[in-house]
């Protein structure tokens, strides 16, 4: 958070004259570099999840593929954070598919090391290490790049507390007999992806099951470049 403190110090020092020449001062809230989204319909504080200019609640979860504990507070990259479940036959296919495209874009543009993807499963019972490896392969996620982490809460109750209550990616388990589309139980859920700057503030909350990969990549590149 050092940069943020520095910025606050600068603005407090009467740097209003700089506002016109430094793009990162365009916003009233200097915690973010992107302007509010043009298509936004609600103020951030009216939304039930963290949105533009708000801090991402800190999350600490294990990465079952590496055995590491990943704490968002300790990361200094630009983050793309989403929730999903791997047996999801439809909407997550679109969502994760677009994010896999963004990941490849970060490689193509040479910014892969500045961006970290955190895909959190809210179905820890089924999404174990093996299931997640197979899922990565099927969804064209490149695990060798090293900037994509699957995070797995230890149990369904933790998933509920962290993904639903803390991040606002609401989900609800649906019994097998009420959903014919997958074997076993299903979920209804919000499709929500956060673009978070290195200081931990939300630049974008894409509420879509298929955010356009090119748009997300462009936003991500801007955040990486302007966060220096």
């Amino acid at each position: 958070m050092r940069r943020r403190q520095l910025l606050q110090g600068v603005t407090a020092g009467g740097a209003a004259g700089l506002a016109g020449c430094l793009s990162r001062f365009r916003n009233d809230d200097s915690s973010v570099v992107l302007d509010p989204p043009e298509d936004r319909r609600f103020d951030s504080d009216d939304l039930p999840y963290p949105a533009h200019g708000e801090a991402l609640p800190s999350v600490s979860l294990p990465n079952p593929l590496t055995g590491e504990q990943v704490a968002t507070e300790e990361l200094d990259e630009t983050l793309l954070v989403t929730g999903f479940f791997a047996t999801c036959p439809a909407e997550c296919v679109q969502l994760i598919g677009q994010l896999a495209g963004v990941q490849q874009g970060t490689v193509d543009e040479g910014i892969a090391e500045s961006v970290r993807f955190l895909a959190i499963t809210f179905d820890p019972a089924r999404d174990d290490e093996r299931a997640l490896r197979e899922y990565a392969d099927r969804m064209r996620i490149d695990l060798d790049v090293g900037n994509w982490a699957f995070l797995r809460p230890s149990d369904p109750a933790t998933a509920e507390r962290v993904v639903d209550e803390r991040l606002g990616i609401t989900f609800e388990r649906v019994a097998a007999e009420e959903s014919p589309r997958v074997e076993g139980y299903d979920f209804t859920h919000l499709s929500l992806t956060f673009l978070v700057n290195p200081e931990g503030y939300v630049e974008r909350a894409y509420r879509s099951s298929q955010p356009d990969a090119e748009r997300v990549l462009s936003d991500t590149r801007t955040v990486v470049e302007q966060s220096g």
């Binding site: 439809a90 296919v93 679109q94 598919g97 677009q98 896999a100 490849q104 099951s209 990549l217």
Partner: protein
């Protein structure tokens, strides 16, 4: 074809199509028709097609190469095609980020592997999926001009799609 080129095509298409798509409850505009790049693949040729069509039926399917249900449904699509009027066009479209994690060659290979035999195209920037609110795959629609006459998300029987098409062509 890159995005700019597609948008240029789209601009040209929409200028003439606005009046056709005008509906009383919704103003027609540039966002209403989408230019879809079609691929050189079995049953499909390189080109651009405007969706929705100015008039007449179109069976439009959204799929993804990463979607196993979509793979399963290819046979239902193929079966339905043999049972409806041969003049009814079919178009399958992927909204995947082609050019990033998915290549045109990947789409062609998937198409060949799953015995596709009709036009297959790319939904650049998910514009078409947004136009028809196709948030899941597979989503299959029967259009008559820009009117959605039938739509289904997930698995379907060929007979259901055939009935959906015939409701338009026989009506």
């Amino acid at each position: 074809m890159d995005r700019r080129h597609l948008l240029a095509v789209l601009g040209g298409t929409v200028a003439g199509a606005g009046a056709l798509y005008a509906r009383p409850w919704r103003s027609a505009g540039a966002e209403d028709a989408v230019a879809v790049e079609t691929l050189d693949a079995p049953g499909s040729e390189t080109g651009t097609t405007s969706v929705p069509p100015a008039e007449g039926p179109l069976v439009l399917e959204f799929f993804a190469t990463t979607c196993s249900v979509c793979a399963d449904q290819m046979s239902a699509m193929a079966t339905a095609r043999t049972r409806v009027d041969a003049s009814v066009p079919f178009l399958s479209v992927t909204s995947e980020p082609v050019g990033l994690s998915v290549s045109r060659a990947d789409v062609r290979e998937w198409w060949r592997t799953h015995d596709g035999d009709w036009p297959v195209g790319l939904d650049d920037g998910t514009a078409l999926a947004q136009r028809f609110d196709a948030t899941s795959v597979p989503t299959t629609l029967v259009l008559e001009g820009d009117r959605v006459a039938w739509r289904h998300t997930g698995r379907f029987d060929a007979a259901d799609l055939v009935a959906g098409v015939r409701a338009v062509t026989d009506g």
